[in-house]
């Protein structure tokens, strides 16, 4: 079954990050599988209007006001005319929103529901329940996901989190992990130095990534092992802390701070190391450890969030989020390295390249789309019933929003009738659709 999919998120190229590359890679693989895919995002600087990326992936950069952290100003109704126009023009059958932070994704899914188009949502991050910002985001998510057909999460822990946050039935939520492009993240043992053990860290230098732990680890490990060197890529407010540690313990020749690293250079830095260290305090999936593993490094990580699900025990050293426990794990890794008890970089790469592939992600996402397409389309009464039972609070207010959007849509159907909207001619796929392997 061929789907006409519209990916929506505030986060897309030229911005870089996990969500951005996820949308890009997934779209590419879905195109290859013969589906029709367009992407909607907001305008980035002068990049506005329609652009085409590799394999004719069509991207709509909508001229919307960006309010905060690359998110558009949430207006709920104001985006309906343009989103409706695009959805009709492209004959979209499924709207797929990405990231709970993206206001554009929530609005587009809301409009799609109003128009009777199926919606799928992918949640990329974990949230707590205790602080004010999580409580507000969770309320919005409850409202937004009340009418979404299916939700995709990147790990089982993330699924548990989303089910609790949005009060969903767990059967509506699918787990499809992230993937890496293993043709990019290849090992290169010639880059490793035999006279030293290099520990690589690659993350934003912020509290959530456990940089305080790293600051405790560096002097201890350098003190115990004179041949251990640190190579730290990334930037952020905690960089000053690492610089202080380096200064205080006179480790300038052994701790290298690279500053922010662009995504295409990550692989070249990873292959210089022997051990990859992840000290995150919260993580839904942690693509960084998979990329490092794919480059043939030993991986040491904190046992948090979805991390324990990602790699089998023989490929990862897990530790509690404390300096003492991480030191034990790191020393075990260093020890194994010296004794040659490690799996070879080539074998690590081989195993990852069959474990997490974008083709597999696309195939599994397609299953979700198929399941979505089979569901009967819901009437306005059904939708109101679902919203009123979603527990997002203020029933009257919620009803006002749903009915308001419905009436606005009906008005647009009169003002800008469907028959006046020119349809995009359906492109014939150049390569025949690949069958699932």
């Amino acid at each position: 079954m061929v789907h006409h999919v519209c990916m929506v998120s505030d986060f897309f190229f030229p911005n870089t990050g996990g969500v951005e590359s996820h949308i890009y890679q997934l779209s590419q693989c879905l195109l290859q599988r013969g589906h029709k895919v367009v992407v909607i995002t907001h305008a980035y600087g002068r990049r506005t209007g329609v652009r085409y990326l590799t394999n004719n992936l069509k991207v709509y950069y909508l001229p919307l006001l960006v309010a905060y952290n690359q998110c558009i100003l949430p207006t709920l109704f104001a985006t309906l005319p343009i989103v409706r126009y695009i959805l009709l023009r492209e004959r979209i059958t499924i709207v797929h929103g990405h990231s709970a932070f993206s206001a554009l994704a929530h609005e587009a899914m809301f409009h799609a529901s109003t128009m009777g188009i199926s919606t799928v949502f992918t949640d990329h991050s974990l949230f707590g329940f205790a602080d004010a910002s999580s409580i507000i985001t969770n309320k919005i998510l409850k409202f937004s996901l009340a009418d979404v057909q299916h939700v995709i999460c990147v790990s089982h822990t993330s699924k548990e989190n989303t089910v609790l946050r949005a009060a969903l039935s767990p059967h509506k939520v699918y787990v499809v992990p992230n993937a890496v492009d293993s043709t990019v993240f290849t090992p290169d043992p010639s880059q490793q130095r035999s006279d030293r053990v290099t520990v690589v860290v690659m993350s934003r230098l912020v509290y959530r990534k456990g940089i305080d732990l790293l600051a405790g680890i560096i002097p201890e490990l350098c003190g115990r092992h004179p041949d251990v060197h640190f190579l730290i890529g990334g930037d952020g407010p905690k960089r000053i802390l690492l610089e202080e540690v380096r200064e205080q313990y006179q480790l300038h020749d052994r701790v290298q701070l690279l500053g922010s690293v662009s995504h295409e250079d990550v692989r070249d830095i990873l292959v210089q190391g022997d051990i990859f260290l992840n000290t995150s305090l919260t993580e839904a999936f942690c693509i960084a450890i998979v990329e490092a593993e794919s480059c043939g490094l030993q991986v040491v990580s904190t046992r948090i969030g979805g991390v324990p699900e990602v790699l089998p025990d023989e490929l990862i050293y897990l530790a509690e989020p404390s300096v003492a426990s991480l030191l034990v794990a790191l020393e075990t890794a260093v020890d194994d390295k010296r004794r040659g008890w490690t799996i070879s970089p080539r074998e690590r790469h081989e195993r990852i390249s069959t474990m997490y592939t974008w083709q597999d992600v696309a195939r599994r996402t397609e299953t979700v789309y198929d399941a979505t397409a089979e569901l009967p389309s819901s009437s306005l009464a059904d939708r109101i019933y679902r919203y009123s039972h979603s527990g997002s609070g203020w029933l009257l207010f919620v009803l006002l929003l749903v009915l308001g959007n419905y009436l606005f849509w009906q008005l647009l159907e009169i003002l800008v009738p469907r028959r006046n909207i020119e349809l995009v001619p359906s492109q014939v796929a150049k390569s025949p659709r690949r069958e699932p392997t």
């Binding site: 707590g128 790990s155 989190n161 609790l164 059967h171 939520v173 600051a215 904190t302 979805g306 474990m355």
Partner: protein, 287 residues
């Protein structure tokens, strides 16, 4: 083969499979404490103590403004109680097994002298600082400052709202406002030094004394409640009754309320939460 919570292999289950172990790692109300009513009543003394001290300060101002209390007498009382307070503080510290060094006394005397000199030389400025503001505004501002002070005062908890420097600054600003309503520079000097004693030194001493013995804590709390209600009684009966009921509510009703609200706690924790670094203090020590 049973389902495992892993992503790295295809286990042959559909992607929306829900295992019986779903949400197994979720924990509810981990940090809930059960409170004992009388213990809570006893601990609420920390709040009543501070309210009492603030009221005593206001009454002192009223007396000073009315001319019942002379500024010289107030200065004398402040200095004398400072000395006695320091002796009591040292005695309590010794009783608690802390060592008190002679150099400490020297530091305290030196900073006291510096402080008094500074306040005395700045009093003419403080005295005219808010003179042009109308009295109504000043009183309203003072009330808000003191309420803010009571709100953010450090009662010994680690809530985000607690800020010792903020509460002290609010109190000092409130007393500056009041000071500008007095008639001479000496009046201003006396009330400002008294304010420092009430809002900076007294809480320190009080905590020390109360740490020594359970009876001491009760004694200090009861004493300050009675003293504040009586002092207010001599100024205004209505205010005294109001203060008495505030003390009653804080001491007896608020603990009951706190305990009654406990069953409504619904706090969930799980592997998705941001973890706390276990040995955070050790990390700090290393730096």
């Amino acid at each position: 083969m049973p389902w495992r919570k892993v992503l790295y292999e295809d286990q042959g289950y559909p992607d929306n499979y829900v295992d019986s172990s779903f949400l197994e790692q979720m924990q509810k109300n981990l940090n809930t404490r059960s409170y004992d009513y009388w213990n809570t009543v006893y601990e609420s003394g920390a709040v009543t103590d501070h309210i009492s001290a603030t009221c005593l300060f206001v009454v002192t101002f009223v007396y000073l403004e009315a001319g019942v209390l002379s500024p010289k007498l107030l200065i004398l009382l402040t200095v004398a109680s400072c000395f006695l307070g320091y002796i009591a503080y040292a005695a309590c510290a010794v009783h608690l097994g802390e060592t008190v060094q002679k150099s400490h006394l020297w530091i305290v005397i030196r900073s006291a002298v510096v402080f008094l000199l500074f306040t005395f030389s700045l009093s003419p400025i403080l005295y005219t600082l808010t003179e042009s503001v109308s009295t109504d505004t000043i009183y309203a501002m003072t009330v808000f400052m003191f309420l803010g002070n009571i709100l953010v005062f450090d009662y010994g908890t680690t809530a985000a709202i607690v800020s010792e420097s903020m509460s002290f600054n609010l109190a000092m600003f409130g007393s500056m406002c009041l000071a500008s309503r007095l008639t001479t520079v000496l009046h201003t000097f006396s009330i400002v030094s008294f304010a420092v004693e009430v809002f900076a030194l007294w809480p320190e001493l009080r905590r020390k004394v109360q740490a020594t013995h359970r009876g001491c804590k009760m004694g200090v709390s009861c004493g300050s409640v009675l003293a504040s209600v009586y002092a207010l009684w001599t100024v205004s009966t209505v205010a005294a009754v109001l203060l008495g009921s505030v003390h009653f509510v804080v001491t007896f009703l608020c603990p009951r309320w706190l305990i009654q609200l406990q069953p409504y706690k619904n706090n969930i924790q799980g592997p998705w939460d941001e973890v706390n670094i276990v040995d955070k203090m050790e990390v700090r020590k290393m730096l």
